[in-house]
């Protein structure tokens, strides 16, 4: 681990613990993460007993070299983007801990758990009301979006 930057050292530690003790339904694609520590792909299963039971999703994490002081860029990728009031059809997620409420004590694991729980508390599968407009006009990087966090129920 010598010669690594502080962000790489922390990511290496997180990767080890995620491989060793993954939360239920969450697994990290080790091939991709080991090639480039700043780019991870996480496989995620919808929790049992929720609207997303049996579905599989892919999450992409992109880290800057300021991680963990700077939040990771987290989007859903692949052909199954969950239909959820806070997930846009291009994979962008409206979740406060990914921007304003980020803290360096959070981790990939805690972000994954937050997203699983966000999906699990969903009552009705639908896209955000402004999905069409947002997807057409937004920046590629969801962190450039000024999000409004107004709905804490889902």
């Amino acid at each position: 681990m010598a010669g690594m930057s502080p962000s790489e050292r922390r990511l290496q530690k997180e990767l080890m613990s995620l491989i060793k003790e993954p939360p239920p339904g969450v697994s990290v694609d080790t091939n991709i993460a080991e090639q480039n520590l700043l780019h991870w792909v996480i496989h995620m299963e919808g929790a049992a007993g929720t609207l997303y039971e049996g579905e599989r999703f892919q999450l992409q994490f992109k880290f800057s070299n300021k991680y963990p002081f700077d939040s990771p860029e987290v989007t859903f990728i692949g052909n199954n983007i969950p239909v959820h009031p806070h997930v846009y059809s291009n994979g962008h997620i409206c979740l406060s801990i990914l921007t304003d409420d980020w803290s360096p004590a959070l981790s990939v694991q805690s972000v994954c758990l937050s997203i699983v729980s966000m999906l699990s508390s969903c009552k009705e599968k639908q896209r955000p009301p402004d999905n069409t407009f947002y997807v057409k006009t937004c920046n590629k990087n969801p962190k450039k979006t000024k999000w409004w966090y107004h709905d804490d129920s889902v």
């Binding site: 681990m1 010598a2 080890m16 002081f69 360096p104 006009t137 920046n139 590629k140």
Partner: protein
């Protein structure tokens, strides 16, 4: 750091019975004293009044990241340089306050404070307006959608779906806006 990674591996294989047990115990003890930011054993340790442990260099960097909203990374309690307590173990040679060790960063490297989050989007002047509604500042929306090089446009929605109707409606509105704008340009 290579040594600690090796220890992890040894601990998990657990082929040496008692030996690996003590290793695990040691590891548990260590993790109590891990910095909440870098996840290494805290060096130049400081503890917040809310009881959370950090390396001073790590916490200092976090406090500098958001100078106008200094909160504990773990519990979001308000903290500041004055409200953290340096820890001195018996083994530490110099009884020097770690908070004095990190010099304030040069002004040029300071990050700008984040814009206030109390009423996002209510001022026309701040550029959050166009991100939320997309109609606040015409040229910027145009730039973001037009100059996303290498970013494939999302495929059109299938016929008959709700999304397709919405898209048709939107494109009609934009067409009329463009015509109105052009006529206004010609008239002026």
């Amino acid at each position: 750091m290579a040594s600690s990674a090796n220890e992890d591996v040894k601990g998990s294989t657990g082929d040496e019975g008692h030996n690996s047990e003590t290793k695990d115990e040691e590891k548990k003890d260590d993790s109590i004293f891990e910095c909440n930011i870098c996840l290494d054993t805290a060096r130049d340790a400081v503890v917040s009044l809310c009881g959370h442990l950090f390396c001073w260099p790590c916490l200092h960097q976090w406090l500098e990241t958001r100078p106008n909203r200094q909160v504990c990374p773990v519990c979001k309690a308000a903290i500041s340089k004055e409200k953290v307590v340096p820890l001195y173990g018996r083994g530490s040679t110099k009884q020097e306050d770690p908070r004095e060790k990190v010099p304030p960063r040069p002004a040029g490297q300071r990050t700008e404070p984040e814009p206030g989050t109390s009423f996002p989007g209510f001022g026309f002047g701040d550029n959050s307006f166009h991100m939320s509604f997309g109609i606040g500042a015409f040229p910027f929306g145009f730039f973001t959608s037009t100059f996303n090089f290498g970013d494939p446009r999302p495929a059109a929605a299938a016929h008959g779906t709700h999304q397709h109707m919405e898209e048709q409606f939107l494109s009609k509105i934009f067409l009329w806006l463009a015509i109105l704008f052009l006529t206004w340009l010609l008239m002026a």
